[in-house]
Every structure is written in structure tokens, then in C-alpha cells.
Amino acid sequence: MPDARRTTGGRVDVRGLTWRPAGRRTPVLASLDLRIEPGERVLLAGPSGAGKSTLLRALAGLLLTAEVGDLSGTVSIDGAHPREHPGRVGLLLQDPTAATVANRVGRDVAFGLENTRVPRDRMPDLVRDALEAARFPYDEARSTQTLSGGEAQRLALAGALALQPRVLLLDEPTSMLDEQNAAAVRESVMSVVRRTGATLVVVEHRLDPWLEHVDRCIVLGADGAVRADGPPSRVLDAGLADDGIWVPGAAPPAPVAVDPALVRPRTALPTGDPVARVDSVAVRHHSLFGRAAVAVPALDGVSAAVEAGRGLALTGPSGAGKSTLLAVLAGLQDVSAGRAEVAPALAGRRGRELARLSSKELTRALAWVPQTPEHGLVRTVVLDELLATAVALGQPAAEARARAMGLLEALGMADLASARTHHLSGGEQRRLVVAASLVHGPSAVLLDEPTVGQDRRTWAAVMGVCGSAVAAGTGVAVATHDEDAACRVERAGSRVALLGGQVVAA
């Protein structure tokens, strides 16, 4: 098949690259030398904070465009700085919606073309080809607002492909997706790489699914230097698991030990009693104008309960209604039908109905942690963040402080008590918000995707806190598509599997 879009892969050359972001005493990348040959397919691995994403951003020429710090050394793509030829490098990020810039698919893909002043009459063909190459399932008129995570990620891929990149950089492109969507994105990427011969560099926490597609694995150490480099079979050994890397075949790490006294609920219910329960609830999302925003209800006839001293795993593919059910259990989402209520012991002045509890009554009973940890941060200093809810509820300061410090200690963050919350790494923020949800002793905690995209250390910390909360008598509900986490939670209680807003197995 003659293919006008065939590009050749770019050669990546990194010499003496050193990057110290503002706010760190030591560099993230230290005198890094690296050469990637045209058409090579490289998997970039390393513990959290080793600078994998930073290296990708350096290869794309993005350091100093949005982040600040000290940069030295050189990066070149086919002998030129990556920004000299816009579009020569394509970068795909973890959050697919972060790359969406327009409300129509066609315009979104054309954005890069517009910015690189491609003649207007050439754009329609380039856009169509890019969408086809990325295996995007809809046409150009489709609204970008209605896409699933996997579809949005393939749209972002098309946006990068429209510029015919010689190097494709993927920064955890599937970590926020369920397995089905992740596989679809991987398929699209690999079909593009096979067809164009583009050089590929992938960063991903879970290595297994990429191994069959790559021919080289580079492992960065925590010191920002290359620790191992070569064929995946030779490079990936069990020792890397201790660094927090999800090495294929290695069992999930042992959860961190946390003293149950640190997470004991203030209102303890008998084990197995529902803290919050929903009976045959339906939730329908409405648009601003009152009409149903989508034809399918977010939840339809769902019954579930988070019980004291038990785990509840909510599973299912993207869009199944996991987050919505969690929000209903947390009293944050009103229901269109059915009942959602708390245990009698936790009833407020206006009764047990979740939607009618006051903020304080709700907070005493339940804690909710959103999927993006930054959205859960309400204070600027770590210790204040941990104490925020306890202070708002007027609980004894000394006791809350003791619990907060104990939790920080257990999670390996004791030296961060006075650090700024927005300066923490993603993994640290994740551990912080999970710990902060338990300091005021709620009877149940509801966590939305607490382990996705995290390395083994943060995974062990989050699972450790969950386990000890269950042991202390707290109800723990976890919505997730991380099967390892779901299994652990289910073992301590039960699982509700959702599909299209309905329970498929309980």
C-alpha cells in the first residue's frame, strides 16, 4: 500500500542533561547521556520521582516553558532542538482530557496544524488521516465532551499524529483507563508506530502490557541517572520491585503496617452494620437546561452498602457509574429515585437521608476522597491539611494532631509535616489525602481510584491505611479498576460490579 504519510523515525540524542526543578536541592536528572536510534521502541521505567516524565518533557523541548528550574546539557532530535521543528515530537499525557482544546473532534485535531501554519487546504486530509491512523471511532463533527477516557486518549493521539511526528512520547497514556480502553489505545499506538516507523518512548507504571511491543528498556534510578539499559528480558529483574516499579510477574507489595488506633472511627458501629446504604437508586445527569444530558442514566436501580469494619470494592469499566455511586454514598450526589441513607446512629437533625444531612453531620459520618488528589487539598501546609476537618468539626486539637503525626510517620512522610501541599509529588499527595480523610475519625471512608497510576510504595501505603481502617471498624469503599486493589478490598468485605449504571454481580 503506497503511503504518503510514512515518516521515518527520529534519532534522539541527550548529552549531559541536568535538570533541577525550582524547589528541589538535588537534580531530578543528573548528567544524563542517552541515544535512541531511529525507529527504536523504548520503555522507560523507574521509581516515582526518578524523572521519567521530566525526561519525556525534556525530549519534547518543554522544560522551561511551564516549569522553572536549572537546565543544562543538550537534547536533540535528528540534530536539532525539539522546538526548532514543531510537531517532530508528539507527546501523549496521562490525563486524556488535558489535551482536549476544542469542542469538535475535527477542530481539536487541527489545532497543531493551525499552530504550525499548515496551509488550510491541506488540513482536511491530514485530519482525516490522523483520525484513521489513531483508530478514532467517530467522525470529525463529534463533540469532544461526550468521549470516554479511551476515546479522548485516541483523539489526543490523532492530534499528535496530524503533525507527522518522528518521535512519539507516551507519558502513562493508559494509566487512567480501564483495561478495555487501555488495550484499544495501545493497539492504536502500535499500529501507528508500525506504519510510520516513528521512534517510540513509553513511560508507564505497569510494564507488562507494553513488553511485547518494545525492544529496549531504560531504567532510571532515584538519583536521576540511568540504572539499567538493554533488552527488557535482561533489564527487568525482581530487584526493581523494591524500588516501587511494577515489574511483570511480581506479586502486589505487602501493605504498610498502620496502627488501627490512628484511624479508629469516633462513632463505632457494630461490624457489618451499614454506615451508608443505597436502595434501588437511580441518578440521571441533567444539562444546564434541565434536559437529560445523556440518554443513559448514570445509575439505575442500584443497591449497595458500605458496612462498618468491612471493605466494599466498586468495579466496572469507565462510565459504569462507580464514581457516581461513590458520590451518592458520600452524600454528594442527590438521587432521582430510590433511597440513600446513613445508619441511625449517624442521623442528623433532619433524619437519615444522605442528601438532607448538613455538611458537618455528613463530614462526621463519612469521608470522600476524589480521584485527583489535588482536588481534595484544602490547605497549603501538609499538617494543616491533615487537621483541617478535625478543626472544622471542633474536635480536640491534641488528639487530632497525634493521629495526624502518627499517620505521617506510618506513611513515610514524617519529614513533610511542614511542606507545602501543592509542592508534593503525585504519590505524596495521594498518601496525604487518604490519610487526611481519616484523621477526624469518620465511620466510613469512600475512595475514588486511590491507587491508579501509583508506584508500588504508594500502593502499599494506601492499601495499608485501608486495611487498618477496616480493622479499626471503619467502613472502606473503593471505586477502582485496579484489580489488585479491588481484590484486597473485596477480601475484607464485598464487591459490587457495575456496568452501564447497573449492578451486574454483587
Binding site: 525550582a22 524547589g23 536541592r25 537534580p27 547521556d33 522553572v68 511542606a419 501543592h422
Partner: protein
């Protein structure tokens, strides 16, 4: 196909103290433009709110001594000072103040589109002071001077000849003085506090003041 680290990296250190915008000064990063624009929109709404709140204290001060109403002018100068102190590039103050004035006019105020004249002059006042210090100084003194200059440009460049054309010269000068004090304190010091607050909150890590804060609390 292995790589090695041959050159030991120099002992890394943080950059304590003042951080300037990356030179060349006129080479705006995308994030500089976006930050200034968003800031402008935010302040436009603040301006409009102040347009509404202003009337009550203004009536009180007018009843006492009309030129005292200059004391209430400072809030409208905040956008330029904050934009200039945050982005630290030529034109950022003018741009931010103009965006804010446009948003204020678009929402709708009694001043209509003349807010653009005021916004332009106020922004230029800040630019003049930052230029005098070659975009190298952004402390309390410079911030107060910038707020003051912003007020002087507004009053002497526009208000004397429009709103207060009927004032006697003595009144005009008192009005200039009260507006200047308000500009120095509310827009100058207040603006600096806003910039520092944003930096401490971690909201402007990519801006020089954010970087100063990051380096100060480095770990």
C-alpha cells in the same frame, strides 16, 4: 547500547532570593500570557464588584470632603500591579489592567468603555516604575511606587480633565494625593500581598514569585 554518566554534576544548589523572568524580557512564554490574561479576567470581575460596593463609602466621603473619594481608587489599580509583579516582563502590567478594564466594561458599569482609557493609563503608570528599575526589583518599595504612579497617571492623565474638571486646583491636588496614597497602599502593598499569597498557595509555581517561594522552601 548502554549509556553512562561520565561527567560528575556540579554540587547542586538552590537559588535563594530574587528570581527574574528569563531573558530576553520580551520573549513571553505561553504561560506568561495565559497567566496575565486569566488574572485580568479575574480582576475585571473584582473591579465590577467594587464598582457596585464603591458607591456607599463614596457617598459618605463626598459628604465630608469630596476629594477624599480618591482614597477609594486603589482597588482599580490592583490588576496592573499584580500583573507586573507576577509576570515581571514589559507590558504585562498594561496587558493585565487592560484585560481587567475590558471585562469590567463588558459586564457593564456606569463608566462604560471609558474604563479602557483608565485601564491603559493605570497600566502605563506601573510599567513606567518597573521600567525605571529595569524589571529587576519587585519589592515593597517598587510595588508602592508602581501603585502610586498608576494613580498619578489615572488622575493627572484623565480624571482631572473628565470627572473632576470643575474642581479648583487645590481640590485637584488633594484628590491626586488621596488617590496616590490609596494606590501606593491598596494597589501597591495590597498587590504585593496578593502576589505573595498566590506564590505561597502554589498557584503560580511557573512565575518568578512562585519560583522564589519554591526555592525558599526547597527540600
Amino acid at each position: 547500547m548502554s549509556s553512562s554518566v561520565e561527567v560528575p554534576s556540579p554540587a547542586p544548589t538552590t537559588r535563594r532570593g530574587r528570581v527574574l523572568a528569563r531573558r530576553p524580557l520580551m520573549t513571553y512564554r505561553t504561560i506568561d500570557l495565559v497567566t496575565a490574561a486569566l488574572l485580568g479576567v479575574g480582576f475585571g470581575v473584582v473591579f465590577w464588584v467594587w464598582d457596585q460596593l464603591y458607591t456607599a463609602p463614596s457617598a459618605v466621603l463626598s459628604a465630608i470632603f469630596s476629594p477624599l473619594t480618591g482614597l477609594l481608587g486603589g482597588p482599580w489599580l490592583l490588576a496592573g500591579v499584580v500583573g507586573g509583579l507576577l509576570v515581571r516582563r514589559p507590558g504585562a502590567a498594561l496587558f493585565t489592567e487592560l484585560v481587567a478594564a475590558s471585562v469590567e466594561a463588558l459586564i457593564g458599569s456606569g463608566w462604560g468603555w471609558t474604563t479602557l482609557i483608565s485601564g491603559g493609563l493605570q497600566g502605563l503608570g506601573v510599567e513606567l516604575v518597573l521600567a525605571l528599575f529595569l524589571w529587576r526589583r519587585f519589592g515593597a518599595g517598587v510595588a508602592m511606587l508602581a501603585g502610586l504612579a498608576s494613580a498619578v497617571f489615572e488622575v493627572a492623565g484623565y480624571e482631572w480633565w473628565s470627572y473632576y474638571a470643575d474642581y479648583a486646583w487645590s481640590w485637584k491636588l488633594v484628590y491626586l494625593a488621596t488617590f496616590a496614597v490609596s494606590g501606593a497602599v491598596i494597589a501597591g502593598l495590597g498587590g504585593l500581598l496578593i502576589v505573595r499569597g498566590l506564590a505561597r498557595a502554589g498557584a503560580v509555581n511557573a512565575m518568578p514569585p512562585g519560583q522564589e517561594e519554591l526555592e525558599r522552601t526547597a527540600r
